[in-house]
Subunit: 338 residues, 2 copies
């Protein structure tokens, strides 16, 4: 059996996460038992939610256990199979973690899914046609419920969730305004992703300045907001909401390190009769087939052109992950393993 | 025609509202034209939302105009009528404002409503069986959507909205916990209104202390919250919410004077997948008949025993209103005019 290199969580962050929280180890993959499948990972996904799980805090998900392989989504190829539905060469996505191989009990529902790579490249099943894409879909379609002509705003617009959100909202006839960090990302968001406008938050370091930029980019106000970041940008967006605006809240990356992240003026929820809903996409598995079908079609038809930041090799995963938390990635952050 | 004494808004508050913002004036009521009705007000309602309208700020409602009679709900008796559906002696509720008489164009839909005082005293149509009661009903039934066995929390529990909220939630099989200011109010909330527990916020001056009190009063966590106050109590409640809790937001009395009213940890909306909705009950007139029918029955059957603070005479309205903003009232604040 092949040697398998793994990144384990060695110790928990105190404040900011650092590379020394992780440790690279090697093991031999065990022989397969009945119903098990050996998968060689071609790509592993790095996502902001992983930072939350590194803390030993009460949250919606259990903490990542210490001394175990970092959990996360993976896309790869079946190498060996003792399950009748899988055969060597099948392209599959699963939740194999930060390692080069995984042994999966394929009889567990949802543990491994075959994917069609004829129209959608394998890696996109970890991004636009995977969990991040469905996250955008759920927030837009189920919470925000946009109407044609309304204005939608999304933070981290050049990322996996933000870019999918933009394509989905454009397909529904909305004006879509992104917020991203840097002129190059903003140029991509408008030029390649087709957003109507994009605001570089690095040029607007407080709520007042951001609110002025939003006023210009959203002349008719804001009807829907997909919140990925938190902090002063959330404050600024609320200042520009229209009556009956909806807010889908799926991440607050600015708060993962434990610093306080207050909201300045929650009275705006009342004044503008806002609906807000926090959600975790894994609790809404019923919508995944519908969402993935739409997202796959958007990618296959070229209407959604997701960008990827690809680090090479399992040893690069910690630094790539820390870069993601600081916004150094450009598009969906992946690690290529084969 | 009778002489009519009125309270007008003379100037706007700078920070805290003061008695000198109002001015008492006298006029003669004009002769009636076709479809007009002259109403003598027996009671006028004082409500926290009026404070918001005293500011010249963008909000859901237009500011109270300067130099005009303060707006507000009234209950009274028809003195003279040139509308075929109203006759002298009819008991009516309307939006007559801070004055002893009003002349109402009864052909305007919703401007004047006859009420039955055989089972429900007239004054309660300004409280439990009026706007405050429907506010509680909408927040509970339409936003929180409680299930039997869930735990509901409401601030200002001894007030008009809070007491109605408690009775409505008890009728749906919920555990109901109130928050109120003072031991006398808490004793009334539990003893007379039938809440399961009540926390005196004066004994818990910060979020940490309030959160500990809530933990004791809500051993199974909080599933629904009706927010009337804002500030650190809101923070403390969020710390005790269960997954999928719902928050109905209809007032933030602590913020009307313009001081900042931040929310410490909005990331809890995500962690507990909370739904929050701000609302204004006057935008949901379709539910009023259903809500008023249930509220009237609760009062008539003695299951809801609303308490009232009654000031005497139009000249007492400003001080009574300022006392309401400081929580000096005990139950629904009214002014008796006849």
């Amino acid at each position: 059996m092949p040697t398998n290199r793994q990144q384990i969580l060695d110790n928990r962050p105190e404040g900011e996460a650092v590379a020394a929280n992780f440790k690279l180890v090697s093991t031999e993959t065990p022989p397969l038992q009945d119903n098990q499948v050996l998968v060689r990972h071609h790509f592993m996904s790095l996502d902001p939610y992983m930072r939350g799980r590194m803390n030993d805090a009460k949250s919606y998900a259990k903490p990542q256990p210490l001394g175990e392989v970092m959990q996360g989504g993976t896309a790869g190829e079946v190498v060996e199979s003792r399950h009748p539905k899988f055969k060597p060469g099948d392209k599959v996505v699963g939740f194999g973690g930060w390692q080069e191989y995984s042994v999966v009990d394929a009889s567990q529902p949802g543990s491994l899914k075959k994917v069609d790579t004829s129209r959608v490249p394998l890696s996109h099943y970890l991004g636009a046609v995977g969990m991040p894409g469905v996250t955008a879909w759920y927030g837009l379609v189920k919470i925000i419920q946009p109407k044609a002509g309304e204005t939608m705003v999304v933070t981290a617009a050049s990322g996996a969730v933000g870019s999918a959100f933009g394509a989905l909202a454009k397909a529904r006839g909305c004006r879509v305004v992104g917020i991203a960090g840097g002129l190059d990302k903003c140029a991509y968001v408008v030029g390649e992703l087709g957003f109507d406008a994009c605001i570089d938050y690095r040029q607007h370091a407080d709520a007042k300045s951001m609110s002025a930029a939003l006023k210009e980019a959203c002349p008719d106000g804001i009807d829907g907001y997909f919140e990925n970041v938190g902090g002063y940008i959330f404050d600024a967006v609320l200042m520009r909401t229209n009556a009956f605006a909806r807010v889908a809240l799926c991440g607050m990356i600015a708060g993962y390190d434990g610093q306080p992240l207050p909201l300045s003026n929650p009275a705006l929820f009342l004044m503008n009769r806002i609906k807000l809903e926090g959600f975790i996409v894994s609790e809404h598995m019923d919508v995944w087939p519908e969402a993935l079908a739409e997202l796959g079609e958007l990618v296959a038809s070229g209407k959604l052109k997701p960008r990827e930041s690809i680090a090479e090799g399992i040893e690069s995963a910690p630094e790539a992950f820390l870069g993601l938390l600081k916004g150094r990635n450009f598009g969906k952050q992946l690690v290529k393993l084969a």
